[in-house]
Symmetry: C2
Subunit: 294 residues, 2 copies
């Protein structure tokens, strides 16, 4: 298994509650796996191979398509809570006892819901370009199910800032997305995209009472990563998460939009390494730290 990469790992399937889920599993065996939960309208091929391969050096990596997405069977539900249930069924079918979750945008919403409802299944959370339930400007009026009509324009416009440096990073990112040549995932259907959009809009609706109240119950060590010019999930949402989650570290990158962690992936990969290697908690154990100078 260790010899596989993002490019070469075969797509596998597992069945749970009558749904056949597509996934790819590679990286370092006998570690707590990193489960990658993808963004709106994307499939397993949407992850940057540089990021997955780099993380696979120290962790098992599992990419998957939730119900109704890409090569997976079933129907995409129109609620984040339902998507979370299906994700849990998938984890159980694979016999996973504990996972770290890397959730990007919609994936980060599922990650939060999972941490709330199944806290024992989650080790650590990495929340990328996402926001809390009922966050600021999270009804996504700019998004539509037709984004796939011109994915290049969508990604350069939404994932990267207008600066020359960011646009150049975007073009490199899109080249890397093509590095897997065979056994590509299936496209996301319009029905699935429509259901996802309904789900994220419901998630983003401001509740009548108790806005942000559930966040204090997510006590897992959490790394929040966001772009300071994210035009999809406005950056204040990352700040709100960092304010309300009891054990979350926030990192915000400059001159970057929804794909900030791809644009700044060199720093991002180092930041993730530090976060994941930090023993049992994001709060360093003061007793274990020795002065660096005798």
């Amino acid at each position: 298994m260790t010899s596989y990469t993002h490019e070469t790992v075969p797509t596998q399937f597992v069945e749970a509650n009558g749904i056949r889920y597509a996934y790819r599993r590679f990286g370092k065996p006998d570690t707590i796996p990193l489960l990658f939960l993808e963004y709106f309208n994307s499939n397993m091929d949407g992850w940057d191979p540089d990021v997955t391969n780099s993380l696979a050096a120290h962790h098992e990596v599992i990419l998957f398509d939730n119900a109704g997405v890409g090569a997976s069977g079933g129907k995409t539900p129109n609620m984040v809570a339902e998507m979370t249930k299906q994700f849990v069924a998938f984890c159980r079918a694979l016999g996973l006892k504990q996972i770290h979750v890397v959730g990007f945008s919609l994936g980060g919403m599922i990650a939060q819901q999972l941490a709330l409802e199944h806290p024992q299944l989650v080790g650590r959370l990495i929340l990328l370009g996402t926001g809390p339930r009922g966050g600021e400007d999270m009804t996504f009026t700019e998004l539509s199910a037709e984004e796939q009509a011109d994915p290049v324009a969508f990604l350069l416009g939404a994932f990267f800032s207008p600066s020359e440096a960011s646009q150049a990073a975007g073009r490199e990112y899109m080249k890397r997305l093509e590095s897997r040549k065979n056994d590509r995932d299936l496209p996301v259907s319009r029905d699935s995209a429509v259901a996802q959009l309904t789900a994220i809009r419901e998630w983003g609706t401001i509740p009548a009472t108790g806005r942000y109240a559930t966040l204090k119950s997510i006590t897992h060590p959490t790394l929040i990563v966001h772009g300071n010019k994210d035009i999809v999930v406005t950056p204040i949402n990352a700040f709100i998460l960092a304010e309300h989650l009891p054990n979350a570290q926030l990192i915000m990158y400059p001159d970057s939009s929804h794909g900030a962690f791809y644009q700044h992936r060199k720093a991002f990969l180092e930041h993730v390494r530090i976060f994941l290697s930090d023993g049992d908690s994001a709060v360093p154990d003061q007793n274990s730290i020795k002065s660096s100078v005798a």
Copy 2:
């Protein structure tokens, strides 16, 4: 010079414009020095020896007292802009051509003013627990010049959160502050503290027009570090800096107040290392990054 540490480096003096400035200089020679600008009512002994010694392994470190502070002569001015002028005079007296600035709270205000007025003198900025000119809730109504009457209570209350973990980190920090036994700095006088307080309150006053307008002119690679429960400089100020500075990365630590970077110094020192080692820019050069998997 390399054999000196925070604990053993002798205090030196240099004169500029009739003022005799106290400073301590140690660490790796022939590097761009890290200039440490201290917080309200503190002197060279206020820096955590673990932080300064760790950074001194790869950079020259210069601690100093601005005019009227601690062992330095002269009178503390009551404007950040005046403090900045004196700091520049000190740098010129030492013949420094370029510096990285580590500014904590008041020190971070001077760092911003310096970057605006003398951009060529500054390589990189590290802004700790500080905020922009005219930031949110930055008139510091809780602070007084009498804080030194009970420094233990002040530091545990303002630098660390009420949690047990944070308070324990605070006690360890205060123990480390005592590791330098000889040639301690002189206390900050009441007159100096009063002038500093006037200066930070003036800095924090919201201007009639153009709030945050100058931040776009500070193009230096910048690392902003803040505690998510900072009760001295409210955390939204760090977010505002990250929003408006063109090339700033924000890191916010959990369960921590004004001394967040001391509480989380293991992660902080790694984050600073990554930031300072990142070539010419906080934005990674995309062309220099190779896929981690061939």
